[in-house]
């Protein structure tokens, strides 16, 4: 069944009022859904688009609030969030980044969805608008929620001012326009030579991006020395649940998870081995 109706919502609330209805899907920039619509495999009769919903903005007020419909090309210009910028720049090619959105990227299945690990490391929250109102869970919580994510509209991502140092590494088969094999984003708050707070998030190696709790625990409360970095990297790799796909096997993705985390940590600490 082809798409019979495309509704261009003028607000997140308007989109949310239609979101849960049968045969209806929400669409951001369209990079995920448009190929399916063209191929006739979308499986929805009605598509509700957020293109005109007023969600393309970046506002700074102590925190950075990024509208979910901000193109990745815009995210790739956020100088004060270098890890996020680097993740956005790594997605596909220029013309696609002008279409793809921050919000849509958070719905992309592995190995796509490069922004989530960085946003996890930055303790981002999301603003979700549902038929009954809105809520602002932590991204980490939202990503692990069960249930139909199509019933609410992701309106905004809020990134606190990063505390500490951040690092991001993404491995792919090609330097550009290449699905990730593994990626890692980290944030470390160092106090008195020891790690006071650690965030280690990994992407492309599990159905959704996730925080590697064991890696964070290994790092917290001790100096970030080579042994800690190595063990945290292995702990993160153990938290991965990669699958084989056309680009890489599960075996290789797990190996590269450890490498990514280690390199991201070294990058954050400014002690790259290269």
């Amino acid at each position: 069944m082809g798409v019979r109706e495309y509704v261009l919502a003028t607000s997140a609330e308007g989109a949310a009022s239609l979101a849960g209805e049968p045969g209806t899907v929400l669409m951001g920039g369209g990079t995920l859904l448009m190929p399916q619509a063209t191929a006739g495999t979308l499986g929805a009769e009605r598509v509700v688009g957020l293109h005109a919903a007023g969600l393309d903005y970046v506002r700074r007020n102590g925190v950075t609030a990024i509208g979910a419909m901000s193109p990745l090309a815009t995210v790739a210009t956020l100088e004060d969030l270098p890890a996020l910028r680097s993740a956005a720049r790594g997605v596909s090619g220029w013309a696609l980044r002008n279409v793809a959105t921050l919000g849509g990227n958070l719905y992309a299945a592995a190995p796509y969805g490069d922004l989530a690990p960085v946003l996890l490391a930055l303790d981002a929250t999301v603003r979700l608008v549902g038929p009954g109102g809105e809520r602002t869970p932590a991204l980490a919580d939202w990503l692990t929620e069960e249930g139909d994510r199509g019933r609410e509209v992701l309106a905004e991502v809020v990134v606190p001012s990063p505390r500490g140092v951040t690092g991001h590494r993404r491995h792919a088969r090609r330097a550009a326009n290449s699905p990730a094999v593994a990626s890692a984003a980290v944030r470390l708050v160092i106090e008195d030579g020891a790690v006071a707070e650690a965030r280690v998030a990994i992407g492309a190696v599990a159905p959704r991006a996730l925080r590697a709790a064991a890696a964070e625990e290994r790092l917290t409360g001790a100096p970030a020395d080579a042994a800690a970095i190595a063990e945290a990297s292995e702990a993160a790799a153990a938290a991965a649940s990669p699958v084989d796909d056309p680009v890489a096997s599960a075996w290789y993705r797990r190996r590269m998870t450890a490498v990514s985390v280690r390199q991201a940590l070294e990058s954050a600490l400014g002690s790259e081995s290269r």
């Binding site: 596909s92 491995h171 088969r173 090609r174 330097a175 550009a176 326009n177 290449s178 699905p179 084989d244 796909d245 056309p246 680009v247 890489a248 096997s249 075996w251 290789y252 190996r255 590269m256 490498v259 081995s273 290269r274």
Partner: protein, 333 residues
């Protein structure tokens, strides 16, 4: 992490054309009323530049300017038969057919001109710029346009030619494999340098330096295009491409350009090449087929360079980072 450097080389031959069932192509050439020439045939340009190089062959043979020669191809209602564009055969076969057709048309053109100039045809020469001149008497000349007009409206004859080139069918001895499968052979040798990241298993091709012996470069820029494109494709075969990433299993067969991996602009190595020209007796102006060969020598050259870097052969394509890491573990064990 360590970066291992390696260098490898490979040398290849590549046959021009096919033989099974006979391998012919035809061309027709005729002059328009105003002295342009149309080459009519059915050969297909895949992007390698066949329409251009065939016009060059026609113009050279006719002795007329390149711009006055048209190539009208690939319409079965007008173009005579061609087997097709494959087996590095198109320039060789269609080119030879055009030479024959154009020689016939040229002879007619000179006969018409001879009558207009009151000279013997064998005393005439084309100047390549649109005139026919009497050898030794540069003032006695006539334009090809005037010759064509005279042929059409005064002398009442055509300026045209027919050409066919055929590689005859080769009988093949099923016991010994004795056969004559090709018309000529081009050759290439590539030296590849690679860098292998022992932590990621990624192979980076640093340079591909190749020599290609191609008989004659009829259009050097088009040959260069085949060389650069072929080097890239060979590198792509060596390191990236497969429709079955878990061969022979069918799982995860790529269906798009995200998953069907080919190197991008950032992966380009330094590509340097040199062309040798050792004319083939049966090639048009000595040319050999070059289109396919250019992709061949880089594949084993890169594979051999990887061996040089890591100390063990990876003999299954593509040489993925995973295979490299597993090979390195094997070496270490």
């Amino acid at each position: 992490m360590t970066l291992l450097r390696g260098r490898g080389m490979a040398a290849v031959n590549y046959p021009t054309g096919m033989n099974l069932g006979g391998d012919p192509s035809q061309a027709l050439v005729h002059a328009t009323t105003t002295g342009a020439f149309v080459i009519t045939l059915s050969s297909v340009d895949l992007g390698q530049g066949l329409k251009t190089v065939l016009a060059q062959i026609g113009a050279e043979t006719l002795g007329v300017p390149f711009d006055t020669v048209r190539v009208d191809t690939a319409d079965s209602d007008t173009g005579p038969h061609c087997m097709g564009t494959f087996a590095s055969r198109a320039t060789h076969r269609a080119g030879n057919a055009i030479i024959r057709a154009a020689e016939e048309a040229r002879n007619e053109m000179l006969e018409v001109a001879a009558e207009e100039l009151e000279a013997a045809p064998e005393d005439l020469e084309t100047d390549g710029e649109g005139d026919i001149v009497v050898v030794g008497s540069p003032d006695k000349r006539i334009s090809v346009t005037d010759v064509a007009l005279a042929a059409h409206f005064k002398q009442g004859r055509t300026i045209s030619g027919r050409g066919l080139y055929m590689k005859p069918k080769s009988d093949l001895d099923p016991e010994t494999g004795a056969m004559d499968p090709d018309s000529t052979e081009a050759h290439a040798c590539t030296v590849a340098e690679v860098e292998v990241d022992t932590e990621t298993g990624q192979v980076r091709v640093l340079s591909l330096k190749s020599a290609y012996e191609i008989g004659k470069a009829l259009n050097p820029a088009l040959v260069e295009g085949q060389i650069t494109g072929g080097a890239w494709m060979g590198m792509s075969h060596a390191l990236y491409e497969t429709t079955a990433p878990y061969y022979p299993a069918l799982d995860h067969s790529p269906g798009d350009f995200n998953n069907y991996l080919m190197p991008g602009a950032a992966e380009l190595p330094e590509i340097e090449s040199t062309m040798l020209e050792m004319a083939s007796a049966n090639g048009p102006f000595g040319a050999k087929g070059v289109g396919e060969m250019t992709a061949n020598s880089p594949i084993p050259a890169i594979a051999n360079a990887v061996t040089d870097a890591i100390g063990v052969q990876i003999t299954e394509l593509p040489i993925t980072p995973e295979k490299v890491l597993r090979a390195l573990e094997e070496v270490a064990a």
